[in-house]
Structure formats: C-alpha cells, structure tokens
C-alpha cells in the first residue's frame, strides 16, 4: 500500500522500527552508516532531521527503502513505484518538465537495476 504523507511525519518511529527489526543497537547502526551515534539518537527522538545523504546511508545499512523510512510506504522493502511516478513534474514549466521527466525515467531505470528487479 502506498500513500501520500508529508516526509518525516513518521521518520523517527520508522527508523526505530527498522533498527529493532535488525536487532541492532544505536551504536551498531552508527558504525554501519559511519554516522555519529548521537545523530542516530537525535533522529530517533525527532530532535534532528537527517539529510538525504544520511537517509540513504540509513536505508542501505538497514536494507529498507528510503520511502519506508520517510513514511511514504508501509512495507520496509517497498518503494513508491505504485504511484503515478511523474505527477510532481507537472509543477515545472515548459521544457524543464520534459527534461525532468526524461531524467526521472533514467533514475527509475537505475533504481530498478540496483534493486535487481
């Protein structure tokens, strides 16, 4: 199931849930992501928000998708492919929209290859 929620409404609880699922302490997750242990603690309490770089490191280490961590899907391994992929490109004007659309298609292909789908 996919849905549209604001990013990070559920991030801290999702991160905690994913870490618990792996049975790792915050220190272990910090080591595997090369992030300071204090950052993990701050992310889980919601006192700090991660960068995209942090988010991607966390997702890779925990073997979940960034969409799951952001609360955009409920299954840890599911990406938000079910939604109309390019709907947000509509916000861009003219030529930029076409360029973004083509580039997103390339990224989608790249993502699929990475996931071995």
């Amino acid at each position: 199931m996919t849905r549209k929620t604001p990013p990070f409404q559920e991030f801290n609880s999702r991160l905690r849930a994913a870490r618990d699922m792996r049975g790792w302490s915050q220190a272990v997750l910090a080591e595997r992501t090369e992030l300071p242990p204090s950052s993990i603690a701050h992310f889980e309490t919601g006192s700090r928000k991660p960068s995209f770089d942090n988010l991607r490191r966390l997702a890779v280490a925990l073997e979940v998708t960034t969409d799951y961590l952001m609360g955009r899907v409920d299954e840890p391994t599911l990406a938000k492919d079910g939604d109309p992929l390019f709907r947000d490109v509509a916000k861009l004007s003219g030529h930029d929209r076409d360029l973004a659309k083509n580039f997103l298609e390339m990224l989608a292909k790249q993502n699929k290859e990475k996931n071995g789908a």
């Binding site: 991660p50 992929l85 580039f103 390339m106 989608a108």
Partner: protein
C-alpha cells in the same frame, strides 16, 4: 535558530565535507563529489532556460540537472554545488520534496527562502572552503586582483568569489554589485562593518553619482564588454558616515551577466585601526609596568 547562524552552519557543513573527503587543494570539483556519492548529473541543453538546477529522486537513485544556458563555468559549478547542499544539509528533505520527487532551484543568493540561502552558503563553502581559500588569498594583493586570482583558483564566478572574499578578508573592503543606476547587493568585510560607521546600502539604493561605477553603468556596452576602471574615491559617497575616508574604487563590468562589480578598498581605515591597536598596546604595557612598580 537565527538565520545568520543557520547560514554559517550550512557553510561549515560543506567545509567539513571537504575535510572528510580529504580534498587537499583548489579547485573543488562538485561533479566528482556527486559521482562519489552516487548522484547522477546531467546538463540541461544550453538552449533551455528555466531553473538553474534540480535535485531529483526515484527510490534510492538521486540525480542533479543543471542549467547551461548561462555559459559561465562558475555559475554551472555553483548550481551543482547548490543542489548538493539540498542533498547534504539536514532538514532539507521536508523543504525539497514536500510535494513530490523533484526540487527546482534558482541558485545564486537571489532567493529569500532560508533553505535556498542555506544551499547557497553550502555551495560557497564547498567551492571556496575557508582553509584553502585563505591560503590562496594570502598570496595576492588586496582588492579586485585578489578576487580575480581567487576566482581562477576556485573556478567560481567573480560575483560569488567577491562575496566570499569580502566575508573572509581582514582588510577594509566593500563589494558592491549593481545594475544600471541601482545597487543590487553590498557586502562589507568585518573591519568595514565594525569600524567604518557606515550605512549599509540596500538593494535598490541609487549608485552614487560621479563615481567610476555610475559612469561605467551609464554605458551598457562598457558593462557588456567587461570594461574596467580604477579611481580614487571617498567611502562617504557610497556609505555616508560621519567623515571623509579615502578609498580605491575598482570597477569591472561582468559581461553578458549585465551587472557591475565594484570593489572599494580603504587602507586608511586599516592604518587607523593599526594605530589604535598600537596605542592600546602601549597603554597596556605602561599600565602593566605601573602595577609592578
């Protein structure tokens, strides 16, 4: 958190990244940094106008598109570095992808949005990290010459370099960007801000009459052909204040960009501060001896 602190932290975050990546010298390559972080980069065709850059995501794959309709290498590198700012800075996810998976930017200190300004300061810190920038700066005479040399070393635009220079130099310097009869932007060095007792010209303030800048700006062709001029001036004409302060006004047209860069250097103010410090030091020494005996 105060916005000035947020902007300083954004710059420091970029500088920390340069240190972490152990990049030892200028110029910094934002394309290589993107590649190392598995971020795809694609140039927009040079015929395409529109946004200066876009950060896009699909699942775990990230990409940056950047504009090339402005042929300046410095502008393009800054645009890519700005998008990297959105990628590396904490708290930008809500802002960048609040509605979807595409974020579009207008890099170059033109936005009033705090997230865009943070990305601009990240870009400045990434391309002109203080520890490397200051080493390079120390090798050149103060003023426009230093800015041009730094611009070459960092492969950044004269505009972005001039702002970074004014923010980091210990000399009494002000940098003004103007278009035609109006000031677009002004940045003063710490010494100018703290000791000059000047009024800060805001955006839209008229360029003072009878200055080299006003005369160059009156001729669009001189701006377009990147003409330049150096002249003795008085800081009071530019910034008001309570007394006359001789300075050197160096002016350079920025070509097709349509703007003019003015660098005002006030060595007299530096001398005054040096004298004050000498006097203070002497008084302190006399005081010290008086206490002993």
């Amino acid at each position: 958190m105060a916005s000035s602190l947020r902007l300083r932290l954004a710059k420091q975050s970029a500088e920390a990244l340069i240190q972490k990546l152990q990049i030892p010298c200028l110029p910094i390559d934002p394309f290589l940094i993107a590649e190392k972080h598995d971020i795809a980069i694609q140039a927009k065709p040079n015929t395409a106008i529109g946004v200066s850059g876009m950060l896009l995501r699909h699942g775990e794959a990230f990409g940056i598109m950047y504009a090339t309709n402005i042929s300046s290498e410095g502008f393009q590198r800054f645009s890519v570095a700005h998008e990297l700012g959105h990628y590396f800075l904490e708290g930008h996810i809500d802002h960048v992808f609040k509605d979807g998976d595409v974020h579009e930017s207008q890099a170059g200190f033109t936005s009033g949005d705090i997230h865009e300004l943070e990305a601009d300061h990240f870009a400045a810190g990434l391309l002109m990290p203080s520890h490397l920038f200051l080493d390079e700066q120390a090798q050149h005479e103060a003023g426009l010459h230093a800015i041009e040399e730094l611009s070459r070393a960092c492969r950044t635009s004269l505009t972005a370099t001039a702002i970074a220079y004014a923010e980091s130099t210990e000399d009494a310097v002000a940098v003004v960007l103007s278009t035609g009869p109006l000031v677009d932007f002004c940045c003063m060095s710490e010494l100018m801000r703290s000791k000059g007792n000047f009024n800060w010209p805001r955006k839209g303030t008229p360029v003072p009459r009878n200055t080299a800048t006003a005369e160059l700006n009156a001729h669009a062709d001189r701006v377009a052909t990147a003409d330049r001029e150096t002249r003795e001036a008085d800081a009071v004409a530019w910034f008001g204040g309570d007394r006359s302060l001789p300075c050197v006004e160096e002016v350079a047209g920025l070509g097709s960009y349509g703007r003019t860069l003015t660098v005002l250097s006030c060595p007299t103010l530096e001398d005054e501060v040096d004298d004050e410090e000498d006097d203070a030091s002497e008084e302190s020494m006399l005081d010290h001896w008086a206490h002993r005996f």
